[in-house]
């Protein structure tokens, strides 16, 4: 078999449902094989779109997203998408073509050292030099991407290796001696954690994306209900615990709810599950949760004690460990006084915005929630739109929010929505977008229309790079430098691609527009002309303690 055929055969055996990609010179042998294959191939309009789509596919399902690009510019165009997946621990396999092995290093046409370029933004990467190694490398790539703390893996495949022939042997088993993730919590650590929990008077559960990756949402709910601890989530953790649950504090951190931040600051015990104490969550580190002991559950030992001091580290898979922990906790602590305090914060500092007869972006998000009954997959771009989507939509299920948390990549949401829709064709998929971000991968409209991938895009069009404008307003004396962003006529633009565009300039048109968008069988751009200078509150300025909140206390 040729290398190209082996690749396609392996992808099939790995259960790959779709490939997102773009052709080019050195991947011709692969595309020739794909011509006869029944693996679905989605031709995007930009390799960045392919990478984000593969990522969105993965986030929506937990399955491994796959993207494919040619060497040189094709490969470098994937990099932002790979880095985005890396920062959020998303399993993905990126395949790139490479110039012939004997030309590598000669500055050949369309040569880029992509394994060198992606080394810091992949979990691992491979340059295949011998076709005999190919099958095993593909197996290892899928294994590494999806196990332990997941992440993107890149395989760089020179064109002569694609053409070379060898006997195909499917490696049944993968053994990598330097890679042995821990899945079950150490019983001694579980005991210690259980003891701390039983003694706690003011516990808070702090849940991150690891809950979703590991599928630990049921166990998380069981634990929270068993010990009656309130649950604060990171952006990545939203959906890991139902947003409508009485113990849910919503999101914490820079734009988190005031009550989540007060709760974490007042806690005497933080049970961190699959979260990494990112600076957007902790605020000023030396002022973070001064009274709290910390139990930290994470599959990545390097995430533990990286930023904060941890009393009880428990390394392993969140689902297993929470299960072990629930068994081990014999006596739930009595924390009724604490819950009262938390409820009091919730009543005194609710999430709110000043509604009026203009279109408030928060209102738009609320209406989307109302009309989808929380049952859609929401993707977001980056900026204010992302924070409003996090605050005002209630995520009831894991994998219902898909957002670039770690890298904060503008242009992510639309192609990610596309990938999510390919993965879950029966789901409504809505990208809550900004007018700036949507312009970063807007070319994917063509991909959506051609392939009938009907995603809905709700553009919160404020005429600004709103989040940057907000910082300039608050911290740079309203000196608006390069944040006023001209946008095209989104309705005409959508129509020119064969999609549907809806312009919304009045508040009473908001609901009907969403209803119409949800009912038409096409990709839809909704252009909501929202209040231009609306700000995201509450807000903790960068570098402040997370209970030094501005704007949210009114």
């Amino acid at each position: 078999m040729t290398g190209a055929k082996i690749l396609v055969e392996c992808l099939k055996r790995e259960g790959v449902g779709a490939i997102f990609g773009y052709p080019g010179g050195v991947v011709l042998p692969i595309f020739d094989e794909l011509y006869d294959s029944d693996i679905k191939f989605i031709l995007t309009r930009h390799e960045q779109g392919a990478a984000h789509a593969a990522d969105g596919y993965s986030r929506a399902t937990g399955k491994i997203g796959v993207c494919l690009a040619t060497s040189g510019p094709g490969a470098t165009n994937l990099v932002t998408g790979i880095a985005t997946a890396y920062m959020d621990s998303i399993p993905m396999v990126a395949i790139t073509g490479q110039v012939k092995t004997f030309l590598i290093g000669s500055d050949a046409f369309q040569e880029a050292d992509i394994t060198g370029v992606t080394r810091p933004v992949t979990k691992h990467n491979f340059l295949v030099k011998d076709v005999k190694d190919l099958a095993l490398i593909i197996r290892e790539a899928f294994f590494i991407a999806s196990t332990g703390r997941p992440g993107p893996v890149l395989i760089d495949l020179p064109v002569d290796v694609q053409q070379a022939e060898t006997e195909f042997v499917w490696p049944e088993d993968v053994q990598i001696r330097g890679y042995k993730p821990t899945y079950f919590g150490h019983p001694g650590q579980i005991k210690k954690a259980a003891r701390l929990i039983s003694q706690a008077k003011q516990p808070v559960i702090y849940a991150g994306g690891g809950v979703i990756t590991s599928g630990a949402h049921r166990e998380l709910k069981e634990l929270a209900e068993k010990i009656k601890a309130p649950v604060a989530m990171t952006l990545m953790g939203l959906g890991g615990f139902p947003g409508t649950h009485e113990l849910s504090l919503g999101m914490l951190g820079m734009h988190g709810t005031a009550y989540a931040n007060h709760a974490i600051m007042g806690a005497d015990l933080i049970i961190a599950v699959g979260a990494r104490f990112d600076d957007r969550v902790t605020g000023r580190l030396d002022a973070f949760a001064p009274h709290a002991k910390i139990v930290h559950i994470d599959i990545d030992p390097a995430s533990i004690s990286k930023n904060v001091k941890v009393e009880v580290p428990v390394v392993g898979d969140a689902k297993n460990i929470l299960g072990q922990l629930i068994e081990e906790i014999k006596k739930a602590p009595d924390i009724s006084a604490w819950l009262k305090t938390v409820e009091d914060w919730r009543k005194r500092h609710p999430l709110h915005y000043k509604d009026n007869d203009k279109i408030k972006p928060q209102y738009v998000v609320e209406q989307i929630y109302d009309l989808t009954k929380g049952d859609a997959i929401i993707t977001t771009e980056v900026g204010q739109n992302q924070m409003w989507a996090a605050q005002w939509y209630k995520y009831l299920h894991p994998r219902s929010l898909i957002s670039s948390g770690g890298l904060g990549t503008m242009g992510f949401g639309f192609p990610a929505a596309m990938g999510a829709k390919v993965a879950c064709p029966d789901k409504t998929v809505i990208d809550i977008a900004g007018d700036g971000s949507i312009q970063m991968n807007i070319q994917e409209l063509a991909t959506c229309v051609c392939n009938k991938i009907n995603v809905k895009v709700a553009i919160l069009n404020n005429g600004y790079l709103g989040m940057v404008r907000q910082w300039q307003e608050l911290f740079y004396k309203r000196r608006y430098s390069q944040v006023c962003i001209y946008a095209p006529d989104f309705v005409k633009l959508a129509e020119s691609y064969g999609a549907v565009g809806i312009l919304v300039t009045r508040k009473e048109e908001v609901r009907p527009a969403i209803e119409r968008a949800l009912s038409v069988d096409n990709t839809v751009f909704m252009d909501f002309r929202v209040e231009p200078e609306e700000n995201v509150f509450p807000m903790v300025p960068a570098g402040k303690a997370i209970n030094e909140i501005i704007g949210g206390l009114a």
Binding site: R119, P120, H124, L127, D300, P301, A302
Partner: protein, 157 residues
């Protein structure tokens, strides 16, 4: 504080770049690095001397190294009985007058004059950190024109 750690890695191309990249990306400092094959040609052994202001940083370095797929084991010698050695080659000023004095150094230190030509002698020496430092202080009195060092090697007892 300097710490000596050793890392067993898969002997594959790009491994050194991964290790070096990890240190530079995360802002850790390498004081010295020695790499070579082991008896098993598929495995390389690295001795790395790292600069870490506190235990937390050292712990992170070890954890991050362990995360690399090609890293098989990481050993920290900070609290472990071990032997460490470094070899140096140095060109020092040389004259017939000082010959005896220079040779006399090697009664105390492990090393020798490999070659003496004109006004330069090339010296090799091996020792632990303390010995090498002491020897270099001595050699400095003659005038060191050029110095190369292997970096530290370490092996557990």
């Amino acid at each position: 504080m300097r710490h000596t750690i050793s890392v067993l890695v898969e002997n594959k191309f790009g491994v050194l770049a991964r290790i070096a990249g990890l240190f530079s990306a995360r802002g850790y400092n390498i004081a010295s690095l020695a790499v070579s094959e082991t008896m098993d040609p598929e495995i390389s052994y690295m001795t790395i001397v790292v600069e870490a202001e506190d235990v937390k940083v050292l712990e992170q370095i070890k954890k991050q190294l362990n995360k690399l797929i090609d890293v098989i084991t990481v050993t920290d010698f900070t609290k472990k009985e071990h032997i460490d050695r470094e070899m140096i080659l140095a060109k020092v000023n040389y004259s017939a007058k000082e010959k005896v004095k220079l040779e006399g150094l090697f009664d105390k230190y492990v090393g020798k004059i490999i070659k003496a030509k004109g006004d330069t002698a090339i010296i090799e020496a091996v020792g632990d950190q303390g010995q090498i430092k002491a020897l270099l202080d001595q050699l400095d009195k003659f005038g060191v024109k050029e110095l190369v060092r292997t970096g530290r090697l370490a092996i557990a007892e």
